[in-house]
């Protein structure tokens, strides 16, 4: 395939939407450090440039090769999670490992690895098997193993997103509706069991979510402050660099988990609404590609990635607006954080590669 043909087929509109989000992110981080490119905004922008290059690079890789790599990537991700578990054998929370001086969170790329592994698994199953529940059991393991490993780190936010990303692929693969409904009922029944497995601080977060005013100083502090900052932003916000709650440091973690709140204070409902719209367009654009690609593997991969981006956004926004407990989830492409951003760009690259290499040949009917 010629270079031009590849470039022509790269879904540029997705990159444009991503670029808008990165730009918003850089501005927000600039404001978070009281109007400075240090320490966050500058690095955020540089990482984004690396990310875009990565997308274009991956677009040139034959999609079949990505398919062949999907299982090895999954096993490497699992090994990474085990490495975190072993190296962080002390008390508390360990999510990072360091290789050659670069530290990163293996749980981030694991999200993509799970989607690829599941897509590969389902693409290899003959059609009639997908009617029987038995053939979904290996898929459940592909989700459950990394889910458990991330949960014990403990990182509830990432574990949940990884779980939902995997569930979406299983759902899209054609899990019969009766099992979908059965699973929902079982999930509700399992809530008490899950509760017992949580760490004290995780329980505290959920209790605080249910009544944030009970603990204004501790776990409830973040969510109370976040709501005040958002609510005081109004329709159009207090203006760039003018958010008093954020600038006065009432708002913690404003460069990562609570960046959406800061944007809300400075740009108001209009700014936040615009960001939500961009995310929605981004997810739907990737979903649209899933209609266009040829192989089942590509289709499932695109659906998984689209919904992962969406879940990322949904969990974060629901969390900072007080609709969900604080589980620690960044806002994709806007929050400061290298591993998360690069993971997203790599997944966009995979989507681009699918779009470039995995199309129906002209004349073939599109089912």
């Amino acid at each position: 395939m010629s270079v031009f043909k590849v470039l022509f087929r790269i879904p540029w509109h997705i990159l444009l939407l991503a670029a808008i989000l990165v730009l918003v992110g850089s501005l927000a981080l600039y404001s978070a450090s009281q109007g400075s490119w240090q320490p966050w905004a500058g690095r955020h922008s540089v990482r984004a440039v690396v990310g875009f290059t990565l997308v274009i690079g991956i677009a040139f890789i034959d999609f079949n090769f990505i398919k062949k790599l999907s299982y090895p990537i999954f096993f490497i991700a699992i090994l990474g999670l085990i490495a975190v578990m072993i190296s962080g054998s002390g008390q508390g929370v360990t999510r990072w490992i360091s290789i050659g001086g670069i530290t990163f969170q293996p749980s981030e790329p694991t999200k993509i690895a799970v989607i690829l592994a599941l897509a590969n698994y389902f693409s290899g199953q003959p059609h009639d098997r997908l009617r029987s529940i038995v053939w979904y059991i290996p898929a459940l393991f592909i989700v459950a193993i990394p889910f458990a490993l991330v949960l014990i780190q403990p990182d509830l936010g990432t574990a949940l997103m990884l779980f939902f990303g995997g569930i979406v692929v299983i759902f899209a693969a054609g899990l019969p509706w009766r099992y979908v409904l059965g699973a929902v009922v079982m999930a509700i029944a399992a809530i008490p069991v899950f509760w017992l497995q949580l760490h004290a601080y995780q329980k505290a977060r959920i209790m605080t979510f249910l009544s944030p005013e009970s603990d204004i100083l501790g776990a409830g502090y973040q969510i109370s402050q976040s709501k005040i900052a958002l609510g005081s932003g109004g329709l159009f916000g207090k203006g760039f660099l003018m958010g008093s709650q954020s600038q006065l440091n009432y708002l913690p973690e404003k460069q990562t988990d609570f960046v959406f709140t800061m944007i809300g204070e400075e740009f108001g409902f209009a700014g936040n609404g615009f960001i939500l719209l961009v995310y929605l367009l981004l997810s739907i654009s990737i979903l649209r590609i899933s209609f266009r690609v040829k192989s089942r593997f590509a289709q499932l991969t695109c659906i998984g990635i689209a919904m992962t981006v969406f879940f990322y956004m949904f969990v974060n926004v629901a969390m900072v607006t007080g609709l969900m407990p604080v589980v620690g989830a960044p806002l994709p492409l806007i929050s400061y954080g290298g591993t998360s951003m690069l993971t997203l760009f790599i997944s966009f690259g995979i989507v681009a590669s699918a779009n470039v290499h995995d199309r129906h040949s002209p004349g073939e009917k599109n089912y």
């Binding site: 508390g92 059609h127 009639d128 100083l217 005040i228 958002l230 440091n249 009432y250 997810s283 289709q299």
Partner: protein, 649 residues
Amino acid sequence: MERTKTKDLRRTMSRRALFLSGGSILFTSFLVSRLYQLQVAQNSRYSRLSDRNQYDIKIVPPVRGRLFDIKNRLLAGNAESFLLYLTPLYVDDVQKTLIDLAKIVNLSRDLQRDVIVAARKGPSFRHIIIRDDLSQRELARLAVRSPLLNGVSFGKSLRRIYPQGSLACHITGYVSPITANEIDQNPVLAKTPYLATGKVGVELAQEEKLRGMSGRERIEVNALGHPIQVLRDTDARSGEDLRLSIDISIQVQAVEILRRGNLKSVNLGTSEVQSALSKDDDLKAHIALGDDLILRDAKDRLVPPESGAAVVMDIQTGEIISLVSLPMFDPNLFTGKLLTRDWKRLNMHPRKPLLNRVISGQYAPGSTFKMVVGLAALEAGVINKNTTFNCSGDMELGNATFHCWRKGGHGMMNIITALEQSCDVFFYEISLKTGIRKIKDMAHRLGLGDVTGIDLFGEKSGIIPSHEWKLANQGSVWTPGETVVSSIGQGYVLATPLQLAVMTARLSNGKSAVSPSLIKPQNGQQILFPPLNIEPEALSIIQEGMQRVMTGGLGTARKYNLAKSFGGMAGKTGTVQVKRITKAQREKGIVKNIDRPWAERDHALFVGYAPIIKPRFAISVIVEHGGSGSSTAAPIARDILIKTMQAKS
């Protein structure tokens, strides 16, 4: 066919993708409506809150309750200490500031990391405590350099102190900084991470009362976060002060008497002592605890002070007057940051200074158990005051021979003379007739085999064996030989020094099943104990035997009787084999106790009460590997009783 199926599947997947798109739109609208609610509908409310959002809430730690002895002398109190804290708002680079600070005061890497994490969370004008135990020297050094360190300031706080040093260490226990585990169990503690909590002793047992309640302060700040005024929300409530039944003036004497035992003082300065100190590991470990007492034993060897336990108890109220467990440690070491060096010294010490022997040391009671067997036999009607058995020096049972401690035997013995001279064979005989079941019942009624319920954690229950116990724990059937061995308090039988004191208290007061306590009730009301329900006649026979131990012509402790002016005393000696004597050794002639290595020598025990008429105090003494109950433990018990009666009269 296959092709249509594939087509079907593709349609399913596409339909599902469409479903997901619809879901995304739905959920996004849900978020948008939530944002509308917060940012547009409730905007005025949140704007008001934002303007008012100008105060910070600070937790005010409570003052921990103090511990006093019975005469209101301080056992655990609070002393002022200096805090070092950091206000992230005024600090440009927290990490750099911490590195600079570490050059002036002691700051571990872990501590620096904790501060950096704390600085990232919460508003930047809230103080973060870096250290709560600055020394005067560190304070002086900081004061000179503080103009260069923006955002770093000092404050005062309280720190636990134990003014009696190691003297009451096993009673008060100690406090130390909150552990992650405690926070996990009680999340409220997370708000005051610099607070110290009780880890052992009364400090732990009465933690809830001593801790008090944190208060809250609201600090108003201006737009830049500078504090303007402090509004008190809730006052901190101090912990309760507690008065213990311990008398520290008796405690100090008891410690001195027990640790010296029969040993002789030496002059530390001599070159002999100095060279011994550099060679002997036991002496080295002992000196490292900060105690410079070195003694000389009967063979002129240099030895550390005795280890063991002594406990004095009021036989009516159950109040513990003195509780000594040796060796001791300095609880002040734990209140700040415990040095690894100190922790190692305490933990690796061969004689385990952290072990509270009074409640957690389980020893074979030896001959002090004979009162239990005698009482069980009298109550069962197996013997009376005049029943006699002949002691020939040993008793045959099946293939086994059970020896009396006295090789030639004691001749004709009744219960009183058998207690007086501690004849083993007499008790072998009556135990077989009474049976282990009744002996076990009597032991429990006298307080053995169960925890006493004293206000200290880590109490052991000891062991009073029975058929059921052996089946459950050894998986085999009880044999008559084991009844014989149990009758002289050896074999499986184990008791703590506290249980032995409780037993003696119950034997001497004769009426109530008294239990030990350490805390004086505040309203001065007396605790009522359940009745003992033992025949007074049987009890008086046992008491007479115990008096004969001190006064009889052949009494095992006749040399150490309490003078008549104090009203005399009653007691029982016990000498407990730590190592079994084999038949071969017995024939060859037993190596004398004093010539064996320390860890193989017999434990010396004594239990007793005084005065004889209207008894008031019960005592139990154990000297680990101290030799015989008569020559080592009895004089210690007598001397401690003298000091107790002098102080209490």
